[in-house]
């Protein structure tokens, strides 16, 4: 069987690989600086350093799902396929960071609280958020028709995002143990500086990941469209 050459334009020259390299260098640098320079915490000692990965990844999770919401709404409004692919990419990256947040939180919770898991408001709502977006990604996996997949997952994405504050509120009323956010005025300025630097590092990595997933999805769709054109007797 001879292979059909598909007329898919692969993006060859682009600045994105440089951005990716920058993102990871920035991440490594700010992690290293944070770990070396920050003083040991009075109660937690060196365990506190998990904060530099746990907290930024929790922030980035929320941000990714906000990106899903924005692109889902824009898709339903303007019906451009790229918006759907971007929403899907953001959902995948968000779910990854969400899983990372949960695992890192457990690793931190075990030595400080003495348990891997507790049914606290923020832990529980983070887990529910994870499950909602696992549902979103499963829906995408089970539907082949592109327009249907796009419209349905946009609806599911929007409903899921709207539910986030309601889930959080309901679980918070249910019970709470997680410490309240520390405000910058109550902690050492070095903590704040490197927490912020690492948040930016995670942000750059998130943007790079979403971009990479989006490009892959775009190429896949182009290949599908080209294959269809060939099947219909086109080029």
């Amino acid at each position: 069987m001879t292979a059909v050459t598909l007329p898919v334009a692969l993006p060859r020259t682009s600045r994105w690989p440089w951005f990716g390299a920058f993102a990871f260098l920035f991440l490594i640098t700010s992690q290293a600086l944070a770990i070396i320079t920050s003083p040991a915490d009075r109660d937690m000692g060196d365990l506190q350093k998990i904060m530099y990965v746990h907290v930024p990844s929790a922030w980035i999770t929320m941000l990714s799902f906000f990106v899903v919401l924005v692109f889902s709404v824009r898709y339903l409004w303007q019906r451009r396929e790229n918006d759907d692919l971007l929403a899907a990419s953001a959902a995948e990256v968000g779910a990854t960071f969400n899983g990372l947040t949960l695992v890192l939180g457990m690793l931190w919770g075990r030595p400080t609280w003495g348990v891997w898991w507790t049914w606290d408001a923020r832990l529980t709502s983070t887990l529910v958020l994870f499950l909602i977006f696992v549902g979103y990604l499963s829906l995408r996996a089970f539907i082949d028709e592109p327009v249907r997949r796009a419209q349905w997952s946009a609806a599911v994405g929007i409903l899921g995002a709207i539910n986030v504050p309601i889930v959080y509120l309901s679980v918070r009323w249910w019970r709470t143990l997680h410490q309240v956010q520390s405000s910058p005025s109550t902690v050492d300025p070095l903590y704040v500086l490197f927490l912020r630097a690492n948040a930016f590092a995670f942000l750059f990595v998130m943007i790079y990941f979403i971009r990479q997933r989006y490009e892959a999805a775009r190429i896949e769709r182009d290949a599908e469209l080209a294959a269809q054109a060939v099947a219909l007797g086109g080029r």
């Binding site: 089970f142 028709e145 889930v167």
Partner: protein, 228 residues
Amino acid sequence: MGRSADWGRIRAIAWKDLTAERRSKAGFYSVAALGITILVLFGFALGPDTRALRDAAVGALWLAVFFAGVLTFNRSYQVELDSGALDTLLLYGGGRWTIFTGKLLANLAFVMMMLVIVLIVGAVLFQVEVPAQWPTLLAVLALGVIGLVTLGTFYAAMASRSRAREVLLPLLLFPMMVPVLLAAIQASKALFGADLMQESGAWMRLLVAYDLVFLIITHLAFEYVIEV
């Protein structure tokens, strides 16, 4: 195309669904029987200590309604798909949200009837005494069922037309139902304990807010879901 025309459509669809259910009967009884079966299984899992059963009764009851309800929602679209009726339904003029409202009302009636049966059986099996504030409890039950049926009917419009409907609907629906489950269980528990802390009110307000938010959003989004 006025308001009365929309109402006519809604009524026609709800009536059609309920008539089909009434004539076949098998659907309703099997779903109600499943609800009771789940209750019995919870009894085995948690019992036979009477106090433990009584404490867990509310949660077991709600989960039984959730699990049995899921089967209802997919069926509601499945009967349309099997005979190719959904396409014809979509060809009729007027807003398509009326299809959703009609199905929602039919499912609401269906799940409410099931809830009554499951509730009576559950009260007997788990030895629950009817609390003094039973009218408030009825309101909590109604609000919880409205939340369940609204999202269930909405997600089933997608799940029933996908490849993996059995797993997809609960996977999409249950995480979204966490606020309803928590609020319904906590409010019911408070009422069974005579609501000394007056906490059922806050949970009921949460249920009302949840129901309103998702009734509005699902009605707006249904057009996008059903057209493809």
